[in-house]
Subunit: 338 residues, 2 copies
DNA sequence: AGTTAGCACTCAAACCAAAAGAGTGCTAAC
DNA sequence: GTTAGCACTCTTTTGGTTTGAGTGCTAACT
């Protein structure tokens, strides 16, 4: 357990480092946080904090730099949370309550506002697995093809084409549609994946059109697989505003990481309530990065996460406040719209 | 008009500069391109080429660097075109003839292969304006909403939702569909934009459901507007492989430029046959960038462009060969599939 | 025992001057 | 017209010195 003074000093180091990105000296801490102590006293404390693993020195005559462990305790215990100003909150509300037509558009808007306010790349993940199928439509396109439309409870559609077999009448298409609906309505999209195709049943009812049905189910399977998690990232270029990416190789590494959708999804995927902060290699190979995220309930069966990603040295006070606020507004907006 | 020797020297400068990204000296040219001349002779020629605007020196004791004008003449007259190896061509063919289900997937594949082979960000633009409407479907979703589907001749669909008015029966939806088809089938998507809505006609046939029709047409208008040009960019991070973007501010500037879709579309949009090269500020505010592009015919009424964007100092011999080859393969693949 | 003034010490960064090296332009001879 | 030769320029490298920030330690003080 840290003494109050150690906490104060550690907090000052992290605050200072977040603001100015250079090592923090004992003198600086004295001036900003502990005017009643001498720099020598602070040096002793710093030395102690260093041997506890919270700080390190780039070289002997430099100030102290917080370690990953320091950021962790800073986020969890030390920092005081920022409250967004009313103007800012109102601006966000206004932006997010604007009439939108689709989930995609909403995602777009959320990501945009997150990224703009935090000056960091924004991540918005939507989990479609939990979508419940409302109905399946087979639409005759009059050119030997049919359009397969899946309607789900969160207005998301998965559509694709399928060639109709020869001698397949409009009526047969209708019964095929009814058949599919009977089986799948009320189920989750993800149920397609584990669905064993009942060849015999089809044979019985539709003669030899097994291949056609198989194709439809395969299409749906593929769709559900590729769309089960949808991640959008917006504002990647914002990282260039931060000094840790002045070297373009660092920037490249960061951008490459962000492009690994599965990795980012893993990071965003966690059940924890409220806004959480993941720092550096606690969770993955995100060297030098942190993620601030919050879950959002998009409906009874749909969930998602929103968040931002950036250097470990980010302004957590502000970023956590923003992510938290936006997720709350989002929950509010969505639930009041239904 | 340049003498043969001047051409040879200029070509050597550009080749060398493309390869090594540093100023080229007279001695170097002597060794690589003109072993029969002395370096002094070459120096005289270089001096002449400089005063003609093809070259410049970073400082007095440095070699020569080609100007934008030099790159222009290099691409147009000096360089010898590379022929892709058969293995490489086969690889591309194999990759592009792989079974795909949608235009989007094809675009994805083309962009991917372009970007991987050239080590540059790839641009693929598809012009939907020329799509001809094959049919319009209004699909009752049983929850007070209808799905609007537009089928066009290039298999592209534009779909969106519209709320049904109260007391709107299934039969009325059917007649509404017939009515829309009568008006719009055979026309271009872009025709929606200029379409004046005939309130009286609707009133006559459908009573007071003007609002409903207006909403449908508005939706279609918006869709056709936002989707009229579709640009996808893939492999933006490839620019980090090039020294001109070692400074991350340069990289940022580049990435910001590439994100300006309209600007890139303008660049890609030109009728010229074959593969064309646009260099730096000839065409726009693309500071330090070049675009190599080629038009692709995707069908009778659909056109698109593929290309790459990168630093002016790019390997034109190879890049032009690749873009040219891929566009030809693409034309072949598409036309043989129909 | 905790705090602090004082001081020696370390090390990065800034500065400066000299040397090396690359490449040119010019001149005079071929 | 071509070229050898040379003086000249300017960047890059090298190495040494200075500066300054910041520490750790010690000894004195509360």
């Amino acid at each position: 357990m840290l003494s109050e003074r150690k906490k104060k000093i550690l907090c000052a180091v992290v605050d200072g480092y977040i603001e100015r990105a250079n090592p923090i000296s004992s003198k600086e801490i004295m001036q900003t946080a502990l005017p009643d102590c001498s720099s020598a006293t602070i040096r002793n404390e710093l030395s102690a904090l260093e041997s506890m693993g919270y700080l390190h020195q780039p070289h002997v005559s430099a100030g102290r730099v917080p370690s990953q462990k320091a950021f962790r305790i800073y986020v969890d215990e030390l920092m005081n949370y920022e409250r967004l100003s009313d103007e800012e909150t109102n601006l966000i509300v206004k932006y997010l309550t604007h009439q939108v037509d689709s989930v995609e558009e909403m995602v777009e808007r959320v990501a945009k506002v997150l990224s703009e306010i935090t000056h960091l790349p924004a991540l918005v993940m939507k989990e479609d697995n939990l979508d419940i199928i409302t109905s399946i439509k087979l639409l005759d396109l009059d050119n030997g093809k049919a359009l397969v439309v899946i309607v789900t409870d969160c207005r998301i559609l998965k559509d694709s084409f399928v060639d109709l077999p020869e001698h397949f009448t409009s009526n047969m298409l209708k019964s095929a549609q009814d058949w599919l609906n009977k089986i799948f309505v009320g189920k989750h999209i993800s149920d397609f994946l584990n669905y064993d195709f009942p060849f015999e049943l089809v044979n019985e009812q539709f003669g030899d059109f097994n291949k056609f049905f198989k194709r439809i189910v395969d299409t749906l399977k593929r769709e559900s697989l590729t769309h089960s998690l949808h991640l959008s990232t917006v504002g990647e270029n914002k990282i260039f505003e931060h000094v840790e990416y002045k070297d373009s190789q660092k920037a490249k590494q960061f951008l490459d990481t962000v492009e690994q959708k599965e990795l980012i999804c893993d990071l965003l995927f966690c059940d924890q309530e409220g806004t959480t902060v993941k720092i550096d290699k606690e969770d993955s190979v995100l060297e030098g990065c942190s993620v601030v995220k919050s879950n959002v309930v998009l409906g009874e069966n749909i969930s998602g996460s929103i968040g931002v990603i950036g250097p470990v040295r980010m302004n957590y006070r502000r970023v956590v406040a923003v992510v938290d606020k936006i997720s709350k507004i989002l929950n509010y907006v969505i639930n009041n719209k239904r």
